[in-house]
Every structure is written in C-alpha cells, then in structure tokens.
Amino acid sequence: MQPFDLHHYDHSTPLNSLPLTDTTRFLAGGTNLIDLMKLQVETPNTLISLAKWKEANAITQDEAHYHIGAMVSNSALAKFSHDEPSLSLLAQALLSGATVQLRNRATTAGNLLQRTRCYYFYDTTKACNKREPGSGCSALNSMNRIHAIFGTSEHCIATHPSDMAVAMIALDAKVNVKNANNDTRQIALREFYREPGDTPQIETVLANDELITHISIPKSRHGTQYYHKVRDRSSYAFALVSVAAGLTLKEGRVDTLSLAFGGVGTKPWYPQSAIRVLEGAELSQEVIAQAAEAELSHAKVYGSNNFKTTLLRNTLVRVLTSIAAHQEKHPEHEGALYDHA
C-alpha cells in the first residue's frame, strides 16, 4: 500500500483546515476504500479519518423526516429501519447486502460512495476508464455478465453495487453535505449520481471539499414493501437484478408507488418510464410487463448481460404482483412482505 498523510476530522475541525484535493479521501468504515488501497486501485496522498466524528453516529427524527448520520453503520441502520414499518424496504435492502462483519463497519455515507465491483476496475492490468481515464473499457467487448444495461456509455458500463442506495432512491432520500466554507446544501439522491458519459471517474455531483453529514428520508406511507434481490448465491453476493418496491392501492388502482432497480444501472436506477405506466393503473401482469418494457426501451445490452432484460421484467412482475395481492387483502398494511411465496 502506498504511504499517505493522515488527518483526523471531528465535529470541531474546520473542514477548511484540511487538505481537500482530488487526491484526498475521507475514510469512514474503510471496508471498500482500504481494500482498494491494498490493490492500488485507489492511491490517495491524504486520508482524512472520520473515526473520531462521533456526532455523525446518530439517527434522529422530526415530524417530517428521519435523519441518518453519515457514520451510522449499516447494521445500526438496518436495526432501526426494521423497527420502523415505513422503512422496511430499507431494512430489507441493507440486510441483503454484504455480511454482518462488513455491515458492522460500513457506514451510511460510505455505502453511498462505494465503488463499482466491475472486475476490470479491480484488475490494474486491464484498461478501465473509471480507474485510469482514457485507457479504455475492458468490459464493453469482454465478459460483462454483471454489468449495466441502463445509463451506460461507450466509456463505461460498470454498475453501482449498493443495495441500500436502491432502497433510498425508492424512498426519495436526500443527501445533506457541507463544504470547506461551512456552506450546506441538500441533494436529492435521485440526482446525486452521475451517469458515466465520457468521465466515468466522476461518479457523483459532490465537489472535492464537500462532506456528507447526514441522509434525510421523508416520513411517508409506503404500504407493502419488498426488496427482491436476484443473485448467484443466496447470501453475500451482489445483485444481478434487484427491485425495491413499496405499494399502496386505492379502489384497486395504484395510489402510491416507490420503485427503484439495482444491479442494472451505472447508478442506482430510478425507473421513471416504468413509474409513468404504473401510476394510477389497475395492476395486472400485462400492465407490469408493459411498465418493464417502457423502461427497457432505454436499455442497451452488451453480450453476456443480455439476460438482464428478461430477468428484470420477470422480477418486476413477481415483486409488484406479490405486494399488490398483499395490499388487496390488507389495505392498511405498512411494512415488509414477510411471506411472498
């Protein structure tokens, strides 16, 4: 691992006293960054450890929002969300990701900012525009079974790996940040990630001097919620396709719908075309398939990942059919679809 200068941040440290450059990285839990540093995929000159930033470990709430500190662990957030019926989707997504060991260290902000698990990004002997801009994309014409079908470009087709972020997109979370001048701003998570275009190394709208302080999730009803993750093994694997959905019905029609897809996009995917078809609709397998097709009209496949279009369509049908059936039987239900079989 290459040497780095170490600085510490806590609540009393002015951000403008720290060397915030494009070779600086904030170190939260470290479960992704330390791994990438060992592999020399990431070679920061400066690390700013957030281990002493105890104030960011809290989850608070007011009348309208839950506020989740940047350093809240994935385990702590899963437990909190599990006990809040309207956050069941988030709990399911978190618990479907990684392992207990990793969730105990991984943080909320770190999860949002984790890097892709594209094989070629990790392999420093291969071309990768995200790791080394201008070197090319090894995935385009090679094995690309785990790669994206939405939001891709000729420069990068890597997926965003987070499950948590998919649920947070569905729940319309907001990212709160502050910068070196102590200015704050709030960014909708749906607008937080950038598609790769011709600069795949730039993944979010954050500036170098901006630090995520907390995530805000609006309190609203999401009805029956289901995070369904399709993967190569039943635990500790990234999604090939995932669907995060929450649904309420009114007189047999969709009243509220929270929806996002994972494993298919260069960013956690907010399927606006599908949602337009589903809003106010009377749900049937045909209508859900139409919604999937509307979204898939934006998809591009690359060979080994062609199966993801069918898998996404079938997963969406399964998820929405299951939660709609549950809502019909239990119109007031708010929480997880515990037994969908």
């Binding site: 691992m1 040497p3 780095f4 170490l6 170190l27 839990g29 470290g30 479960t31 330390i34 791994d35 060992k38 690390l47 450890s49 281990a51 385990s75 899963a78 437990k79 599990h82 709990a91 399911q92 618990l95 479907s96 990684a98 392992t99 207990v100 060991q101 990793l102 105990n104 260290r105 039943s234 635990s235 500790y236 997880a336 679809l337 515990y338 037994d339 079989a341």
Partner: protein
C-alpha cells in the same frame, strides 16, 4: 500514547497508519490465532470482535480503533474454561483443517449476542425460515473450504439451545 484495549490489556497503536488490525496482531503482537485468508474481507478468517461487534480485521486500520475494545480468539475463553461455543465445536466436529475456525468462533460468539439483542437478518423477512437457515444467513461472511458448514451450524444451534434452557 494512542492505544486500543486488546483482550483486556492496553496496547500501543503502530506508528505506520497503513497497518491493518490483522497485520498489527501478527507483526506487532505475535498473536497468530486470527488468520489471514483472503485479506480482502471475503472469507471471514480474520473475524474479531470490536466493541461487541464482529468485524474483518483485514479491512480496518489499527489507528481507526483507538480506545476500542478488541477481542480475538485468544480472548474468547474464560482462562482455562473454553467458551461454550468452543466446546460445542469440539463435540460437533465443526472443523477439519481448522484454518477458518478462529474466525468462525468469533463470528459465532457475536451471533449469539446479536440474537439476544434481537438484531434482524435477511431471513427475518421470511416467516418460513428455520433457525438453521437464520444461522446460515448470519454466518455467510465465514467461508470454510473443508465444508464443515452443517456441523458449524449444529454447534451454534446447540449453544443457542443451552442458553435458552
């Protein structure tokens, strides 16, 4: 001087910030019970307990754990009395080559505490799941290339039953 508390004793943190907890245990403290398998958080052989929670020692710098309580396999037993899970591993023949065992044990000891605290797992979201399926899900961060999984799950099941008596 910055320290962390390891198995009940204060130890000084290493000077080089690149030192992971795992390398700190091996290279500075000569504690080799914690194993290096993949060194990338994929196998769980290096699992230790930090502040009551299990973590991969290979994916955390020692300096991040200043003032934290760390328990390794060397600190699991109560002096000469094995931890009940260590005894259950012997009785259930829950290991073959033994390389993953210290990680399995630290993970299993934490699992027992997580169940007592009511921590959810992915299996919580299926009301048809058995306790053994829940244990398997919660232990998915610990690989065993000898394939001792059924006996590991049996050993943990035994201790849960013991604790519920």
């Amino acid at each position: 001087m910055a320290t962390l508390r390891l198995n009940g004793k204060d130890v000084s943190l290493p000077e080089d910030p690149r030192t992971t907890l795992l390398d700190f245990l091996h290279q500075h403290l000569s504690l080799f019970g914690t194993k290096k398998g993949c060194d990338h958080g994929q196998c769980g052989a290096c699992t230790v307990i930090v502040g009551g929670e299990r973590v991969n020692a290979c994916l955390v710098f020692a300096f991040q754990l200043e003032d934290c309580e760390v328990t390794t396999i060397e600190g699991i037993a109560n002096d000469d009395a094995l931890h009940p899970l260590q005894q259950a591993f012997i009785e259930r023949d829950a290991f073959q080559c033994g390389y993953c065992t210290s990680g399995q044990l630290c993970s299993g000891v934490s699992l027992l505490n997580e169940l007592k605290s009511g921590d959810p797992s992915a299996v919580t979201y299926s009301n048809r799941a058995s306790l053994k399926e829940d244990i398997s899900e919660r232990m998915s961060g610990n690989l065993c290339r000898c394939g001792a999984y059924p006996n590991i799950v049996d050993a943990i099941t035994d201790v849960i039953a013991l604790e519920r008596q």
